[in-house]
Amino acid sequence: MYTTDLIRRSGRSLASAKTRTLLTAIAIAVGTFALTLTLGASNGVQSYVKKIIANNFDPAELIVTADSGLINKTDTTKPQEYDSSFGSLTTAAGATVQVKKLTDADLLRLSQLPGVQRVRPAVSVALQYVTRPGMRKYVGTLTAYSSSQKPDLAAGTLGDDVPAGSIILPDGFLSSLGFSSAQAAIGQTVTIAVQPAFDQTSLQSAFASGGTAALSQLATPATTLQTYKIAAVSKTSTFSQPGTSLYLYASLAETQKLSDLTTKGTSSYRRYLTAFVKAADGTNPKKLDAVQTEVKALGYGAQSVADTEAFLTQIITILQGIVVAFGIIAVVASLFGIINTMYISVLQRTREIGLMKALGMRKRDINSLFRMEAALIGFLGGILGAGAAVLLGLVLNPWISNKLGLGGDPLLIFNYLQIALLVAALMIVATLAGLLPARKASRLNPIDALRTE
């Protein structure tokens, strides 16, 4: 028989048992539905993470830490031995971990490595407050600007860096600081207050040099006020790093100056949790890898953007793995439905099979006829499930994006090639499920089959 004839015959046979076919297909559709949605969500999350990273990190840069354990493998389940040269850090869950920080000497060492174009420490300052004459005071954070962050500007223009004596003000501050619009803020000034911090080291040295008088002076630290011009106003972007939407930005030098003021005499002075090491021609993965290897060889932790991306998507991947596993279980369970349906089909069509054999139809063709029938059920189930998932996704996407604050970005991104592959895979496993019934059909003895009355 020609393949097209076989397909048409198996299609007709499915059509003549519509309810049975549909029910079997729906069983497959359930699993396919879950798999399609999961794939869609996975695509969406990956694209979202990629955009966040592209908007906040330079792919040619490595994030370097003094402590290679800080990246990926800080084990908070075992006590860490105290080391006075380490700083401490509070994790999101509130646990205290001690971390080794980078020093200026480390930065120098890193910048002298071959293939390194530039080293930039990550500096941010907890401000005492931000204000303007006649306005209330607000707490804030000032961070060193990096051109790789490419913030969306609501007003103003920006070169490679923020000019000296200027800052970028996030639009979230506009109305609080009494600006009617982003444009109105450009060229105006804000006042930033910082206060020296003190820790055990500074207390000890103060006591040693000035006794209790010096101590009490330290306890009521002098506030330093600095006035900055607003060079630009940044827009809150859906792709900014979570929690950073109210960060003020200044040039590295400017930020460093304030940081020095607040940390002088403490153990945090000129200590950096992370630094960004930019590799020359670092968008070339080979060059970036080479620098990463060197940095790691010196005992530092080094993570590329790709590593960060993998780390961020890892947990999502695990969750998706679970959904995929359930989807696969559903599909596997529905395969037994196919086997069952196909056996019934063979049984019901015993006489037809006998007749076809009597008329000289080849064993192979009878086998194909039933395998194709199974494949068609798989196809139908795949199309139904994937179709329903895509429809639901298209309807729900705006709503989900809104709820999750993704802006106009869809959570579910459907890749039609991926869906086609999924349906093809379903057809293959459905065919496998049809193997035994098809074999039974092809082995039927035509005489016995035709005796059935």
């Binding site: 028989m1 020609y2 004839d5 015959r9 007709r12 003549s16 006489r351 037809e352 006998g354 007749l355 076809m356 054999k357 009597a358 008329l359 000289g360 139809m361 080849r362 064993k363 063709d365 035509p446 005489i447 035709l450 009355e453």
Partner: protein, 233 residues
């Protein structure tokens, strides 16, 4: 020409062995009509199945136009059978949920007849059994006589050399049965195909050129009316 020599068929083994056919030999010239007569359970159907290659004899050989049927590989056998023979059964075996047209199409698909030739072949076959106006009707909606006519259309669409009919009128009333038999005899004349008719109806058998009576798996008698006529002349 179909020739059988020393055909035996034993079902089961040892203690349960049952000889359904033993030492059957005869010849049927191409284009003639043969009636296989006998009581129920005498072995008629078994003989027909073996003659058509559906079943293997325990011993003996069958030649169809000098082709040794059971010497062929399965694939060649299927192709040979698809191009040479057709069947009509007592219980019609038409597919109720397919149209008449689709039912008749089946042998053409099996025989891989080129698509462009199919339509006219199917319509001609339907015309021959006067069902051309029912081409699009589901076979399940036909009457018994119409179903058997449809089965005949399906059997002749591929222009077979041999037509096997196993009690083709067994499920029909006598008037309808008579019409079907008339149709079969006419087709034998018009198409020149050999008709092998399995029946327990002696009147029907008497209208065939050759008659073989089977009893308990043995040939009880062979009548060759043409030979008898020649001898008379």
């Amino acid at each position: 020409m179909i020739s059988l020599s020393a055909i035996s068929k034993v079902y089961g083994k040892k203690d349960t062995a049952f000889t359904a056919l033993s030492d059957i030999s005869f010849e049927v010239p191409a284009g003639s009509t043969l009636a296989v007569i006998g009581k129920s359970g005498s072995g008629k159907s078994t003989l027909m199945h073996i003659m058509s290659g559906l079943d293997r004899p325990t011993s003996g050989t069958i030649k169809i136009d000098d082709v040794e049927l059971f010497n062929m590989k399965p694939k060649a056998m299927d192709a040979f059978r698809a191009g040479t023979m057709s069947f009509i059964f007592q219980a019609f075996f038409v597919e109720a949920n397919q149209s008449c047209y689709q039912n008749v199409m089946l042998p053409l698909e099996i025989g891989q007849v080129p698509r462009r030739k199919r339509k006219s072949l199917v319509m001609n076959a339907l015309k021959a059994v006067e069902l051309d106006d029912k081409a699009g009707v589901l076979a399940g909606n036909l009457s018994g006589g119409q179903k058997q006519r449809l089965a005949i259309a399906r059997a002749i669409v591929n222009q077979p050399k041999i037509l096997f009919a196993d009690e083709p009128t067994g499920n029909l009333d006598s008037t309808t049965g008579e019409k079907i038999m008339q149709l079969l005899f006419n087709l034998n004349k018009d198409l020149g195909c050999t008709l092998v008719l399995v029946t327990h109806d002696h009147e029907l058998a008497a209208r065939c050129q050759h008659q073989i009576t089977i009893k308990d798996g043995h040939i009880e008698s062979i009548v060759d009316r043409r030979a008898a006529r020649k001898a008379q002349a």
